[in-house]
């Protein structure tokens, strides 16, 4: 069960990337995601790939772990590649198997799109690998704070997010417990027809929902007992602070992007 949850699961550490303010990371990654789409030639792709690899290196996480972390997405990356092989009909024919032809343009296009996809996933997973979920929530709340003026309930959304994060491990444990209890009563989720397997999920879902509702109710009561009544008049313990490494990182990032755009224009 838990092994599926590796995608971007936070690994505590003390690397440069770990120490950056979450807002810095969020801004860099958000802009990177957009900038990836501006890459237009092999040099600009190469430059971005190099940048991404250096980031991975700076996190001091084992490369194998980072790669394994995006395992579930590999399928999508490869699928995208194959899709482009089939549908793009550009340039010279490379291989011909019966009626099925692979064009040069297909290979190039497939490779580029897959690389783009790979870069996006890898860099965003670095955010969650090096940042505690709560820090991401704080960063989002801070960055979205101006929206409060147009009555977007930023505080409430952030609180909802932090509570969800807080309860993810609890609910995963619960899911595991209930599925084990039902497996002991003879439920088999691994074999049988598709229909059988769908039915086998009911004994898992019903108890899970009942317990989640009960938890929610008790939690709401506990929050009320501790005086929670919305964001009004509330103070905050958590405060984010930009430090020198944030400013330095942002300047370095800016320089890298300037270089990227000059390569692109070249």
């Amino acid at each position: 069960m838990k092994s599926f949850m590796i995608i971007g699961q936070f690994v505590p550490g003390n690397s440069l990337i770990h120490r950056l303010d979450p807002r810095t990371k969020l801004l860099i990654i958000f802009t990177f995601v957009i900038i990836v789409f501006f890459a237009n030639n092999s040099f600009s792709y190469g430059w971005l790939t190099l940048f991404a690899l250096i980031l991975v290196f700076l996190t001091k996480l084992p490369i194998a772990y980072v790669i394994k972390g995006i395992t579930p997405v590999w399928f999508l990356i490869i699928f995208t590649f194959i899709l482009h092989l089939i549908i793009t009909k550009d340039g010279a024919v490379l291989i011909e198997i019966g009626a099925f032809k692979i064009y040069e343009g297909g290979v190039v296009q497939g490779f580029i799109i897959s690389l783009r996809f790979f870069l996006l996933i890898m860099v965003t997973s670095l955010l969650t690998l090096t940042t505690a979920p709560m820090e991401i929530t704080d960063a989002i709340e801070e960055l979205l704070a101006p929206l409060k003026k147009i009555r977007v309930p930023v505080h409430e959304l952030a609180l909802m997010m932090s509570i969800s994060l807080r309860f993810i491990p609890t609910l995963l444990d619960e899911t595991e417990k209930i599925s084990k209890a039902q497996a002991s009563r003879g439920v088999d989720l691994r074999t049988g027809s598709f229909k059988d397997r769908i039915y086998a999920i009911v004994p898992l879902l019903v108890p899970l929902f009942i317990s989640a509702f009960k938890r929610a109710e008790e939690l709401a009561m506990a929050m009320e007992a501790r005086g929670y009544h919305g964001s009004e008049g509330r103070t905050k313990l958590r405060q984010l602070q930009f430090s020198r490494i944030d400013y330095t990182s942002m300047v370095v990032y800016l320089i890298i992007m300037v270089i990227f755009f000059s390569i692109r224009a070249y």
Binding site: I178, K180, A181, G186, V202, P207
Partner: protein, 287 residues
């Protein structure tokens, strides 16, 4: 069914930064028909260990033998369903697994999965209900309308109806009031005696282990710290302290009593009234 653990180790999330070894080189034997208790502090590996007995977990090293079933990393994919029919597990807070619309349907859920025939099912449900001392009137009710104690009994009935040869009880009395705890434990003990079921109790209440078990296994940090009869185990005060476990209350009282009055009363499962008689006799003799 005899149960054997041969050099069993289990590691959660192998090959990740989160890997954690929960069982370390466990060797043990449980004879058919015994009442054994596993005691240990929270996180000592008790729950992990018991999940090996019905194949919910497969050892990452070593072999678990339950009757004719051999579970190890090398032997993958066996018919675990057959094993699970014979090894019933009452999990902690078993009422959390209830999901059907009526009590009857919930009790018969396991039976259906194990392909028990319709007539057989009826008799088994009634028997199970009697074992857990519930009124047949609850059969058509929703399990969620019942009190907490009754819900637990329904969940237990669902396990007993499968007529397991081995019954695993993981903290079966957690969250009940003292009276409810006693009732539930007496019920399991009576069943054990009447059906000659191998009963495996996982508990952190030493009083229960002392009162019901023939044999006690003490786990600490994933290893088997010691095993033996209750009498033997509770003499090892140093080891128990090391495992952060209490002495059963009755033994503490008797120990202090013997020291204070210079007498010697041994605990052999006497009731308070028998103990009182012995104490009186000893005190009078002393004078």
């Amino acid at each position: 069914m005899d149960i054997q653990f041969e050099r069993v180790s289990y590691t959660y999330q192998m090959n990740t930064p989160f890997s954690f070894q929960a069982l370390k080189d466990i060797n043990l034997n449980i004879r058919s028909g015994e009442f054994v208790a596993f005691v240990g502090h929270t996180g000592s590996g008790k729950s992990t260990l018991l999940q090996h007995i019905n194949g919910l977990l497969t050892p990452t090293e070593g072999t678990v033998k339950v009757g004719d079933f051999h579970l190890s990393k090398e032997r993958k994919r066996q018919d675990l369903k057959k094993l699970r029919e014979k090894v019933g597990v009452v999990f902690q807070y078993p009422e959390h697994q209830l999901f059907e619309e009526t009590v009857k349907r919930d009790i018969s859920f396991g039976l259906k999965n194990f392909n028990v025939s319709a007539e057989e099912m009826e008799t088994r449900i009634m028997e199970a209900l009697e074992k857990v001392q519930l009124n047949p009137a609850v059969l058509e009710q929703s399990p969620f309308e019942l009190s907490g104690g009754q819900m637990r009994r329904v969940a237990i009935a669902g396990v007993l109806a499968m007529k397991p040869e081995v019954l695993i009880l993981d903290e079966p009395t957690a969250g009940l009031d003292p009276k409810g705890q006693e009732d539930v434990m007496e019920m399991f003990f009576d069943l054990h005696k009447a059906q000659h079921m191998t009963t495996i109790l996982v508990t952190h209440q030493m009083d229960q282990a002392l009162k019901y078990a023939d044999h006690i296994f003490v786990l600490a940090d994933g290893s088997l710290l010691m095993e033996g009869t209750p009498e033997h185990i509770f003499k090892q005060t140093d080891l128990l302290e090391k495992a952060n476990l209490d002495m059963p209350e009755i033994l503490t009282i008797l120990h202090q009593l013997n020291q204070k009055f210079g007498i010697d009363i041994r605990y052999k499962g006497q009731s308070p009234s028998v103990l009182a008689k012995e104490i009186v006799a000893m005190l009078r003799e002393k004078k």
